[in-house]
């Protein structure tokens, strides 16, 4: 038993959902109790997907446990096949269903369905989300891939991108373009956008590009072993890594790989003088192993930062991250305990964090800027604009991502000059983040508004807040309180009132109600 406050990864069946949701023509029948449907909102809300994930939940309840939950599973399975008409289904259990041992795999096999049924064994009490995605994709590939001739032209598959992946949508596009520049066609991208029929065609490619080791490596290894397809080991995130990746592709294919670097701006942006201020900034890097390793190199070699700590939450990547930490001369932090990460950051007190959604919150609390470089992420990390991480455009995007939380170079120099100015001090935050500092303050203090602020307002507008109204105002959430205060005062001034009572507050509220 381990006490957990926040988690970096969901349970393994959520990993399976990421694969199922990424694909087309595949359906997931999940033996699970009421409530496990919460996972749908990860896709529909956080990633803003416009379709429900292709998942049918059996939704068993306590009263079913004495009876026959296996029948529930079979009914759900039949209904799903009939309603959604998939090319193949994957079947499995969530953590609770694992305990009641109904054996969804065995049940589905006896049903005589006319489509492939792929059983999943995902140990919920040992493993986590990334394992679930990796294992699910591997099982799908193992069950569906068919022997066939290689394509005449040199082609590759892109393996690993899933639903709810960090920038996978754009990484696929960028990678496809990069490969096209090198004269290589893409045979299949999987799981993202692939149908079961596409999976069957995987062996036609000459090699595989492993775009997301966390979710695609087992499948890539299996294809290498069984179909003789080599796969790329370099993750092309950053300028140097992208060049290395191109060289690796050249070695695999024997093609003369000369990349088009005309759109690569990152090296000049980093050399230009405004970037001087980046030199030696201490950064702490935490996330999934793949992105952390890539960003350690970017931080040191391409941004000129000083890396003061690195770590990852997925134990599968512990070994390479430990080796990397040794190379960088820092202590590795391999943990999925959020409080431990917070502690490490507090101790190291870096000038910037490159992390996940979780570290963004740690940074907010500690007053340290943070750029998000890895899953887990939240809705704001699914941008509408094109923003890949891989390839040369990815390097441009990452440069912008890493400097955005910071104060610009010129600005930093001015700040030093006018350090004591009451408005223009470094605690005011970067000038391109309007009002951020004040919000952070209100949040940190539990949202209370200081008496001083109220007095200032009162003095300027000649309106006095009576104590009961002021108390009620304090109870309004901090992020709308400012507006409520302004509206109420405007309302009072317009009516020639000199005092704001509780009634005035609510009269104003009703007046402005929409």
């Amino acid at each position: 038993m381990k006490l957990t406050v926040w988690t970096y990864e969901g349970p393994p069946h959520v990993g399976a959902m990421r694969v199922a949701t990424a694909m087309k023509g595949l359906h997931y029948v999940l033996h699970a109790p009421q409530g496990d449907t919460y996972a749908d909102l990860l896709f529909t809300m956080i990633e803003r997907r416009d379709h429900r994930p292709p998942v049918t939940y059996t939704t068993f309840q306590a009263r079913d446990l004495g009876a026959d939950t296996a029948v529930l599973f079979k009914d759900a399975c039949n209904d799903a096949v009939e309603r959604f008409d998939p090319e193949a289904i994957i079947v499995g259990a969530s953590c609770t269903a694992e305990l009641i041992q109904d054996d969804p795999a065995g049940l589905a096999e006896t049903m005589g369905l006319s489509i492939p049924v792929i059983p999943l064994e995902l140990p919920s009490y040992q493993r986590k989300e990334n394992f679930g995605a990796d294992e699910t994709f591997y099982q799908i590939v193992k069950h569906l891939a068919r022997p066939q001739d290689r394509t005449a032209r040199v082609t590759c598959n892109i393996l690993g991108p899933t639903a709810l992946g960090f920038r996978h949508r754009d990484d696929v596009e960028e990678m496809t373009g990069l490969l096209s520049d090198l004269g290589i066609d893409v045979n299949v991208v999987a799981p993202l956008g692939a149908t079961p029929a596409d999976i069957a065609r995987l062996p036609a490619a000459h090699f595989n590009v492993l775009l997301s080791p966390e979710t695609g490596e087992t499948a890539a290894r299996w294809l290498e072993k069984n179909y003789g397809q080599p796969y790329t080991k370099t993750m092309p995130i950053g300028v140097g890594a992208t060049r290395d990746f191109i060289a690796e592709v050249g070695a695999i294919t024997g093609l003369p790989c000369t990349p088009d670097e005309s759109r690569l701006r990152m090296p000049w942006w980093s050399r230009s003088v405004d970037s001087t201020y980046l030199t030696g900034k201490c950064v702490f890097i935490f996330g999934d192993g793949t992105h952390v390793a890539a960003h350690a190199r970017i931080a040191r070699d391409e941004m000129g930062f000083e890396v003061v700590g690195i770590g990852c939450y997925n134990r599968e990547m512990a070994r390479p991250i430990r080796a990397l930490a040794k190379e960088y001369g820092v202590a590795p932090l391999i943990t999925d305990d959020y409080l431990e990460v917070e502690q490490a950051i507090e101790t190291l007190s870096p000038e910037m964090i490159l992390g996940t959604q979780m570290e963004r919150h740690i940074g907010k609390r500690l007053g340290i800027p943070c750029a998000v470089i890895s899953a887990p992420v939240h809705v704001q990390d699914y941008p509408a604009r094109y923003s890949p991480q891989v390839g040369f455009e990815g390097a441009n995007v990452i440069f912008d991502t890493l400097i955005h939380p910071l104060v610009m170079g010129l600005e930093e120099h001015l700040l030093t000059m006018f350090r004591d100015d009451f408005e223009f001090h470094d605690a005011a935050g970067p000038s391109h983040h309007g009002g951020q500092h004040q919000m952070a303050d209100a949040g940190a203090s539990g949202g209370s508004i200081s008496g001083k602020m109220i007095e200032q307002v009162a003095a300027s507008d000649n309106v006095i807040w009576l104590s009961d109204a002021e108390r009620a105002l304090k109870k309004i959430p901090f992020f709308v309180r400012g507006k409520a205060r302004r509206n109420t005062e405007t309302f009072a001034v317009e009516r020639g009132l000199h005092e704001i009572s509780l009634d005035t507050l609510y009269e104003a509220k009703a007046h402005y109600a929409r």
Binding site: M1, K2, L3, T4, W6, T7, E9, G10, P11, H13, V14, P33, Q34, G35, D36, T37, Y38, A39, D40, L41, T44, M45, I46, R49, D50, H51, R52, T56, Y57, T58, T59, F60, Q61, A62, D64, L65, D79, R83, S94, C95, T96, L99, I100, S124, Y125, Q126, K128, Q357, H361, H378, A472, K475, D503, Y506, E507, K509, A510, H511, A513, R514
Partner: protein, 427 residues
């Protein structure tokens, strides 16, 4: 001022109910922890469960409360499943560590989950044992928020019901108001009751453990939330009597709710009128502003929080909407009856869910507004239906007069947005 008139064509209390079961697109009862831990400021909620439970709480809470929360999950691991004797020792150890780190915690709730129920970890026994160890500083209670037993808001019900047996005895004639409300709303309610001379008023849940909530044969209680069926039964077992009323949403619901209490406490008409006239007028004005966008529009409720029936009553009677279907996870006549009486006949009343069948009905009806969970909202928007996410109705202050306009606004915003956006490609 008379009691609200039932609709001319009859209400929905005796309407046939479509009962369905199948896939349910709802949260489990653990979700209630998200608002309960903010309401009870000296309480900690320890879920005994799996990684899924922790992930649910985190996903449902989103980023709204990313302070160090007063809840956590003791995640069961392979070793806990192997031998149950260990599970209790492990729990004792985790609780001791937690309480040592958080001396401000006075009440600890051990919250059962699907896995802990299935492997039958006896949390009642654990709570008793831990209470003895940590008394008198910390009181340890337990309830189940598992998905196999509870749907979304039933988690709050199970939590409050677990507190009823340990409430102090009293023979005093008191009003007990039951249901977690945001403090600002609770204060408004207390002011209204105080102005009418109703008292003493006690609250369940109280903000802190030392508060003076007690119960006994002379207690009368009013519910502010329509999902408190088990708490209702537990209070009746302690001898308290329920004041049945429509729920305090909108001008009409709030007035009816207050009037039921006023009648019970013998408040005269002049006093009632004097206390409620101004806020009622404000509520009406605020509702009218928001209701412009709602009048004549149709609404379809997917089952979510059990707030559906009272909200349908509010939208149809005060905002001029027509209800197509009103789905609720569960319907209790003792709780929902007064609202069903007032809900004009016509809509399909449904209980439980088979989500794909219900989606087919919604698509056929093409309502102007669909109230549904977060998992369904974007997919339905993509099909051209306007939606209101139901969870916001639980997280936002919506009760009583001063919030009536906000409540209407929650429903009108998606419609106003739809008409405000000009994003279609040129012809």
């Amino acid at each position: 001022m008379n009691a609200p008139l039932p609709p001319a064509n009859g209400g929905c209390r005796s309407a046939p109910v479509l009962k369905e079961r199948g896939q349910r697109e709802v949260f489990c009862g653990l979700t209630g922890i998200i608002w309960l831990h903010r309401k009870m400021q000296d309480a900690f909620f320890l879920v005994v469960g799996s990684r899924t439970c922790a992930h649910l709480l985190q996903s449902a809470a989103g980023v709204m409360i990313f302070a160090e929360p007063r809840f956590g999950t003791a995640i069961l691991e392979e070793s806990d499943l192997a031998g149950l004797a260990d599970a209790h020792e492990e729990l004792d150890r985790e609780v001791a560590r937690l309480l040592a780190r958080r001396p401000d915690i006075r009440q600890l709730f051990l919250v059962g989950s699907c896995p802990s129920e299935v492997i039958k970890i006896d949390l009642a026994r654990a709570a008793e044992r831990l209470s003895q160890v940590h008394a008198p500083h910390v009181r340890v209670l337990n309830y189940s928020g598992s998905g196999i037993e509870t749907t979304f808001t039933q988690g709050e019900d199970a939590c409050l019901a677990s507190m009823v047996p340990v409430l102090k005895d009293t023979t005093a004639r008191e009003l007990l108001v039951v249901g977690a409300l945001p403090d600002v709303v609770e204060d408004q309610m207390l002011d209204l009751l105080a102005d009418m001379g109703v008292g003493p008023v006690r609250l369940l849940p109280a903000r802190r453990i030392d508060d003076t909530t007690a119960v006994g044969p002379n207690t009368v209680f009013a519910l502010t939330q329509p999902f408190l069926g088990d708490t209702h039964a537990a209070l009746e077992r302690r001898g308290a009597r329920h004041i049945a009323a429509p729920f305090p949403f909108g001008d009409e619901g709030t007035t009816a709710w207050l009037r039921a209490i006023a009648t019970e406490f013998g408040v005269n008409e002049e006093t009632f009128e004097a206390v409620t006239a101004a806020p009622r007028a404000r509520a009406r004005k605020a509702i009218a502003q928001a209701a412009d966008a709602l009048r004549g529009k149709s609404v379809f409720f997917f089952p979510d929080s059990q707030l559906e029936i009272p909200l349908a009553r509010f939208l149809t009677r005060e905002c001029g909407m027509t209800a197509v279907e009103v789905g609720s996870p569960y319907i209790h006549d003792a709780l929902h009856g007064p609202d069903l009486d007032l809900l004009p006949a016509g809509p399909q009343i449904s209980e439980g869910q088979d989500v794909d069948k219900q989606l087919a009905r919604a698509r056929a009806a093409r309502p102007d507004l669909t109230v549904c969970g977060l998992g369904l909202a974007n997919p339905l928007e993509a099909e051209g239906l306007s939606t209101k996410w139901a969870i916001e109705l639980v997280f936002t202050p919506v009760h009583f007069y001063e919030q009536a306009g906000d409540l209407a606004g929650l429903f009108s915003r998606p419609l106003r947005r739809k008409s405000a956006l000009r994003l279609e490609a040129a012809e």
